[in-house]
């Protein structure tokens, strides 16, 4: 059941109706039920992995919590040395619970993501047909999202950040909450849990905001992303026929496509949650206007970035191993530069992991390295850039600098997408090579726009929509409150705009489904 389908709309409407008729105390039970029903539509076998994650997270978190409680009692009135010993033993125990659960869960994720590639490798090495991949394993839907969410929770419990959830069903809801289970955002327990379990009453503002989000998400997904998909696929299927400039522009367009696809989905998910009075954490913040790669990752898939920061980057930076490296590099390069070494190293590891999160392919590792490398450059040149910025007094020079940074970011991100969009590393490198060596700007109008693979109407709709989106995001970027302006306009005009928008989404969005793809790209991760 796609979240852009008619069936899903009916499902949400019925759930909403019951939700607001129920006593607030029990609303979470309905949400849990709805979440499992929704997930069941994609295949009952997926429940097994959801349950494994839920049960293991629950059991492990309870054991860790118990250790916390026992530890508190044990260290009361004992000597400092004894306290240290007890704490060390307790920490070890907790670590065992944590690591076992992490290994089990990430092991499942790893198994699903890397099983095929491992078999292929074994087949290539041994030639044994037993290893030949006949049927590909299908990744349980949303596993990367709900697993990261639940493992984040478990690590927080390990670190004693907040009290453990004692009710297994409530924890199950936190892990499986239906709008977000498929493609995120990856929420944190303290943000989401109180909203899920506390219940709410109908609030006009919340429902209105939900509708806004849903409409905007549908606009991005159905009208822009699904159309650009056709164009991008048409070029990518025969990429060797096109010159480097065409490939570059196509990948740039792919960037807009994937942004609209992913963020469109997140808008819909956020909107659905708002219909139930629940705020979900922001996952995008106009990444097309990022100035720098670090800034890009602060705007793109924010929840994955912050998860990596909190659960990989910081622990890694503070780990003993990197601590040693830090000491040594400080000795050699001095305090300031030496400190950079560990930060750069951690960043590269984090972005390689981000790459691998996407899938089991060498190209994703290169994708991660690409971003890690440019982040490292960003970090290394941060001081110089800061000083430069300080020296610029003229406004136009400042503007030029902004545009240059914007252009640089767009180019780096676009080139990085060669690795995420290509089918293999070889294909990515071949496209890369052509972009560098056969860049013929005139080919863009000759080849790309002549071979769009789209009907003329679809091209016009896509172009106009992208322009509208860019204008809208630009206004938001310069802090213009577009919604406020809209809501201050005459009532009749508001209804007319709303009517045109809904009718447009219906005609150019829903009725294009079937001819255009409607599955969300990030559902596969």
């Amino acid at each position: 059941m796609s979240i852009t389908s008619f069936e899903f709309a009916i499902f949400v409407s019925i759930t909403m109706l019951i939700y607001y008729l129920m006593p607030q105390k029990y609303q979470w039970i309905l949400l849990l039920l709805a979440s499992y029903i929704f997930y069941g539509f994609f295949g009952y076998t997926y429940y097994i992995f959801l349950w494994i994650t839920t049960i293991s997270t629950y059991v492990s978190s309870r054991w860790i919590d118990k250790e916390h409680v026992v530890l508190k009692k044990r260290i009361e009135g004992v000597s400092l040395q004894e306290r240290r010993d007890i704490m060390a033993v307790s920490k070890n125990k907790r670590k065992v619970y944590l690591v076992t659960t992490l290994v089990l869960n990430f092991g499942i994720l790893f198994f699903f993501k890397y099983y095929d590639i491992a078999r292929e490798g074994a087949y290539l090495l041994t030639g044994n047909e037993r290893f030949q991949v006949v049927e590909h394993l299908i990744l349980p839907l949303g596993i990367s999202f709900y697993m990261f969410q639940s493992m984040g929770y478990l690590m927080d419990i390990y670190w004693g950040k907040y009290p453990v959830e004692k009710n297994p069903f409530k924890l199950a809801l936190f892990i499986s909450f239906f709008p977000q289970i498929i493609q995120g955002p990856i929420s944190r327990y303290p943000d989401l849990a109180p909203q899920l379990f506390g219940g709410t009453t109908w609030k006009d503002d919340s429902v209105k905001e939900g509708i806004y989000h849903i409409l905007f998400g549908l606009f991005k997904k159905l009208i822009i992303a699904d159309r650009l998909f056709v164009l991008v696929s048409a070029v990518m299927e025969n990429h060797w026929k096109y010159s480097g400039s065409v490939i570059f522009v196509t990948i740039f367009i792919y960037g807009i496509q994937i942004y609209c696809d992913f963020s469109g989905g997140i808008h819909i998910v956020t909107g659905i949650a708002r219909l139930f009075g629940i705020h979900l954490v922001k996952n995008f913040n106009r990444p097309l206007f990022a100035t720098g790669i670090r800034d890009f990752w602060r705007r793109w898939h924010i929840t994955l970035g912050s998860w990596m920061r909190d659960y990989v980057f910081y622990p890694l930076s503070l780990s003993k191993g990197l601590g040693k490296v830090n000491k040594r590099s400080r000795k050699i390069l001095g305090a300031k530069r030496g400190k950079l070494v560990t930060v750069v190293l951690s960043s590269i590891i984090v972005y390689v992991l981000v790459g691998l999160w996407h899938g089991p392919s060498l190209r994703y590792i290169v994708f991660g390295l690409w971003h890690g490398f440019f982040i490292a450059i960003g970090l290394a040149t941060e001081d110089i850039r800061y000083h430069l910025k300080e020296k610029i007094k003229r406004k136009w020079l400042y503007g030029l600098g902004y545009l240059l940074t914007l252009g640089y970011t767009t180019i780096v991100v676009t080139l990085g997408r060669y690795f995420s969009r290509a089918d293999s590393l070889r294909q990515a490198l071949s496209m890369f090579k052509r972009t560098l060596l056969q860049f013929e700007p005139s080919a863009v109008t000759k080849e790309l726009f002549m071979n769009l693979g789209l009907e003329k109407t679809d091209v016009i709709v896509a172009l106009v929509s992208v322009m509208l989106l860019l204008v809208f995001e630009m206004l938001r970027e310069v802090k213009v409150d577009v919604r406020h302006i809209f809501e201050q306009s005459p009532l009749m005009l508001q209804f007319m705009v709303l009517y045109i928008f809904v009718a447009g989404i219906t005609y150019f969005g829903f009725y294009a489904q079937g001819e255009l793809p409607s599955a969300f790209i990030y559902m596969q991760y």
Partner: protein, 610 residues
């Protein structure tokens, strides 16, 4: 705007949009979801989705029928009137294109539960084992949920919320609609049949001509088929048999004819297994692989045999010995009989082309005049020369009765058959030609213009024309064994210079610029009725033969004439003709060769028969 107002506004807009779409789809009804709609255009709905539209149609009209033909498009070539004449039932052809046995089973269950059913005629092909219960999202193939017991929500969502372009397409098509079949309305709602009015009058000719005119036959290579659903298909047949037995319904199972190349695409093991399993369930008729399979002219396209073949099958099943049916065509297989693909191949007879086809040259003459006043005249001497030549070369003149008996009843023609035809109906035909025919004991066909019978002036103008024979003379000739009188239209061979309004002159029977389709059809029908009325003065026989004035013709006039009862037409295209047993439509658009006074008929015939 307050949030409450926004929400209300949004819901109202949403309802308005959804309501408009649903309303539009209900009014235009492009898939025949509702039996009665504004357009009342069932043939369009049937074409878009016969599964839904035929059931919707029958829900309203099932009282008119008590027997049904069930199956895929392979079952489409059984004319319900022919079947009705044999089984004395009111038949409806409830086939769906692309249907599998799952569709057939559910359809049988539905009609048995909801309609009065005495008989079910079920033609099936090997293709029924290629798929079973496919979950097709294509709107042209979805089943009515009452029939297939599938999700009502999914069904109504699909069609009520269908893209408005489907309805718009119907509105546009309505503007282009024609009396004749077009791509968007290929069905005849009252019978459920495909509208083959245009295809059933098309020129057939020799194999070579057929290959040239109809793509897809020559060099046809059929991939090896995977009969992956034999169990499912035969199980469905068993269930259909069970339903019929329980409800006292006569079930006739028929395996339909296949083109040789298509038949060869099915694997030996699969075919034998299918025969074995079918034989365990019921008696059946087997027409799959016979002499018919070897000649593409019996097929509209590689996958579908012609209506005339369907008629032959019915003649065989209902033991109609008056109709031509090839010796090896159709075997009745009793339940329990084991049969293999090899048996079927062994039973097939390799018929020589000459056994079921005949080459017929047709000569065309007009007027006999010693003075040769125009190019269409020949002298009596020339006529005698032609008749003598035919006699000497061993030609036997034949007429419409002979070729009709050949194609319909398989009555062999004499050796070296030839037809003599005369257009217009001049008095010289009676005065000069008829006595010569008597003298030579030969046969000929005269195609007379109705409005000129017995006249020597052009209609009421008083302008002199060649004198034409009278009705009495026509009768005398027609009653003799030498002359068959046919039509050359009543008044559609007009002389432009003698008509009052040159804009409305009908020099031939094809549509003129000032015609609308309606006025054209009306004119043709009126002309035919006038001729038939005049013809009645001469004979009780129906008008069945016509020569197109000026030889001008197209598929539309052919179809209109066929509807009026014409069974044989002559053109002025030069060449020889091939007529085929079991394919009466080979009598349409026969070619003719004009004999002028200077024509070397001997050479001409030699060329034609080369």
């Amino acid at each position: 705007m307050k949030s409450r107002h926004f929400i209300i506004g949004f819901v109202v807009i949403l309802l308005l949009i959804v309501g408009s779409i649903v309303g539009f789809n209900l009014v235009t009804n492009p898939y025949g979801l509702v039996g009665k709609d504004y357009y009342k255009w069932e043939s369009y709905n049937f074409t878009k989705n016969p599964r839904i539209a035929k059931i919707a149609y029958l829900d309203q009209h099932h009282e008119k029928y008590n027997a049904y033909i069930i199956g895929s498009s392979g079952a489409s070539a059984f004319p319900t009137d022919t079947l009705g004449a044999y089984n004395n039932k009111k038949n409806y052809n409830l086939f769906y294109y692309g249907a599998d046995m799952y569709d057939s089973l559910n359809t049988v269950k539905y009609i048995v539960e909801n309609y009065e059913v005495d008989e079910i005629f079920m033609p099936i092909g090997f293709s029924s084992t290629l798929k079973f219960h496919t979950t097709d999202e294509n709107m042209n193939f979805k089943m009515d949920p009452r029939v297939e017991k599938e999700s009502y929500m999914d069904f109504y969502k699909t069609y009520l919320l269908a893209h408005p372009e489907h309805g718009i397409e119907k509105i546009k098509a309505r503007k282009e609609d024609s009396y004749f079949q077009k791509g968007f309305d290929v069905f005849l709602p009252e019978s459920g049949l495909y509208d083959k009015r245009l295809r059933d009058v098309e020129y057939i000719g020799t194999r070579e001509e057929y290959y040239e005119n109809f793509q897809g036959f020559q060099g046809l290579i059929v991939d090896k088929q995977t009969m992956g659903y034999i169990e499912e298909a035969t199980s469905a047949i068993a269930q259909i048999k069970d339903v019929c037995d329980k409800n006292d319904i006569k079930l006739t199972v028929v395996l339909i004819p296949m083109l040789e190349e298509v038949f060869n695409g099915y694997p030996e093991e699969g075919v034998s297994l299918f025969y074995e399993q079918l034989g365990e369930i019921t008696d059946y008729w087997d027409f799959t692989y016979t002499s018919i399979s070897k000649d593409p002219r019996y097929f509209y396209n590689p996958a579908h045999f012609r209506n005339d073949v369907g008629r032959m099958m019915l003649a065989k099943i209902y033991n109609d010995s008056t109709m031509y049916v090839p010796e090896d065509f159709g075997i009745y297989v009793k339940k329990g009989t084991k049969r293999t693909r090899g048996d079927v191949i062994n039973e097939c007879k390799n018929m020589e082309e000459e056994e079921y086809t005949a080459k017929i040259p047709v000569l065309l003459m007009h007027h006999f005049d010693e003075n040769l006043t125009n190019s269409a005249s020949i002298t009596k001497e020339k006529l005698l020369e032609v008749c003598t030549l035919l006699q000497e070369k061993g030609y036997t003149t034949i007429d419409y009765y002979d070729i009709d008996a050949y194609v319909n009843h398989g009555v062999d023609l004499p050796s070296n058959p030839i037809m003599l035809t005369l257009d217009d109906g001049y008095l010289s035909n009676y005065d000069i030609f008829y006595p010569v025919m008597q003298e030579f004991q030969q046969k000929a066909t005269i195609l007379m213009i109705g409005s000129s019978i017995g006249k020597d002036t052009y209609k009421d103008t008083g302008v002199a024309i060649y004198e034409h024979f009278t009705m009495k003379q026509a009768k005398e000739m027609h009653d003799s064994p030498h002359i068959y009188i046919g039509s050359h239209s009543f008044d559609m061979h007009q002389a432009e210079q003698l008509e009052e309004n040159p804009m409305y002159v009908r020099k031939s029977m094809v549509q003129i610029e000032t015609d609308t389709e309606e006025s054209y059809i009306k004119a043709i029908r009126e002309d035919f009725a006038l001729f038939a009325s005049a013809y009645k003065e001469m004979t009780e026989e129906p008008v069945e033969v016509l020569a197109y004035p000026l030889g001008e013709h197209d598929k539309y006039i052919s179809s209109l004439l066929a509807e009026s009862g014409i069974k044989c037409t002559f053109t002025t295209v030069n060449g020889s003709n091939t007529i085929i047993k079991g394919l009466p439509q080979t009598l349409y658009n026969l070619k003719r060769n004009n004999v002028g006074d200077g024509t070397n008929v001997g050479e001409m015939l030699e060329k034609m028969l080369q």
